[in-house]
Symmetry: C2
Subunit: 237 residues, 2 copies
């Protein structure tokens, strides 16, 4: 029994939280995975950085609630993908009261710079400041989900611009996966899965000169699992 | 405002539910995906079939709660895999009160036959009786998650026996995916990913005779994403 539990009322509260990621240039100009956080002004954990979110209201489900709270921090039109991650329910995750949190992962594409409230900022996962409550653990789990989905889905569409060179796409994969991805192999894997198409355009060469690089786009901007068994399906599938 | 909302108490309740799947022989003897359900005796939806579960208690997180409630129906030692699926929170999902549900997917291997309470049974997804509340939707989402994970993880270890022939493994894939999977292609894909090993044993030929079939096992019984980018990782990973 918690001290404030008084039947027949259940003191449980339900909140929603979003780990919104984007690959952005860090202070040194390197592409790095960033998360959208705001600095708490009040206890608990005043001064620490927290994920956007808030309480589930009576007439809404968790998805609607998440969009409502997230709209306080960022233009939802600039969030290219939003999916439920998991529910975090350690009885001690918020001191003094029982709060169950359903967390989401959101993605904002490269080159999109939403205007943000004064308390809110993009922070690189390479130099994450102290986070509030269990939000650091939620960020880790969200990062893990994103790494996994880069491997078995086309989710990179929500991190890349509409059209891109293979070299710039490889930098986005590098920022999320944390290890080098060879552009030639990346192109081969994505092409074999039918995930890439040429746009016909080219990128102008950088300061070092060289041949203009071909521009690509994802064939679909809806999340798809790249299914190795799809090849065995009957033709009507 | 719901009619029973009386501040400062929040009437929200949180429950956990599990869609426990197993591939089992159906009434005709065909391998078919089954789900563990129990027949409700009381309103709402008395007589309909429901997923095992119950309320989240004060001192437990959703995983612990799920294991506690599931243990009422089935020996947990026989559940080879249990993972959180998603939280279902439509305000109208349970008539008359606000109940948010965190759902799980559980897997019981082929050939394991847990003893069950009288109100509980395995039912084939091909002939699912009328389900209670939104449990049919939860079963669909759980099935979708399982289909996806068969494609990009080694999760089949939790549906197959410890050792198996490729033909029997292909029947398990067929039961989950709903389309034919060629055993030769299945073996090739799983071998390329390093997921399969020969046990050295053979299965005795069936009534039709023929050569004894080689027995295989999964190389690991821990869930792994089969990552196509793993090949590009530095050697210390």
């Amino acid at each position: 029994m918690t001290p404030d539990a008084s039947p027949p009322c259940d003191p449980l509260r339900h909140e929603v939280l979003a780990a919104v990621f984007g690959v952005r240039a860090d202070a040194q100009g390197f592409a790095s995975l960033h998360v959208l956080v705001w600095q708490r002004a009040q206890a608990p954990d005043a001064g620490r950085w927290a994920l956007p979110g808030g309480d589930l209201a009576a007439g809404e489900d968790v998805e609607r609630s998440m969009r409502r709270h997230l709209a306080d921090k960022v233009d939802l039109a600039e969030v290219a993908h939003l999916e439920q991650l998991a529910t975090f329910s350690d009885p001690a995750r918020v001191p003094g009261r029982r709060v169950v949190a359903t967390a989401f992962v959101g993605l904002v594409p490269w080159g999109v710079h939403p205007s943000l409230p004064a308390d809110t900022a993009w922070r690189s996962l390479d130099h994450l400041p102290p986070t509030a409550l269990d939000h650091g653990r939620i960020i880790d789990r969200a990062h893990e989900r994103l790494r996994g989905k880069l491997s078995y889905t086309n989710i990179a569409f929500a991190l890349a611009q509409d059209s891109f060179t293979i070299a710039s796409l490889a930098r986005i994969y590098y920022a999320v996966l944390g290890h080098h991805v060879d552009p030639t192999n990346l192109q081969r894997i994505l092409a074999r899965r039918g995930m890439l198409q040429r746009t016909g355009g080219t990128a102008s060469p950088g300061p070092a000169g060289g041949r203009p690089a071909a521009q690509y786009a994802f064939t679909t901007r809806e999340l798809r699992v790249t299914d190795p068994f799809a090849a065995f399906r009957p033709p009507d599938h």
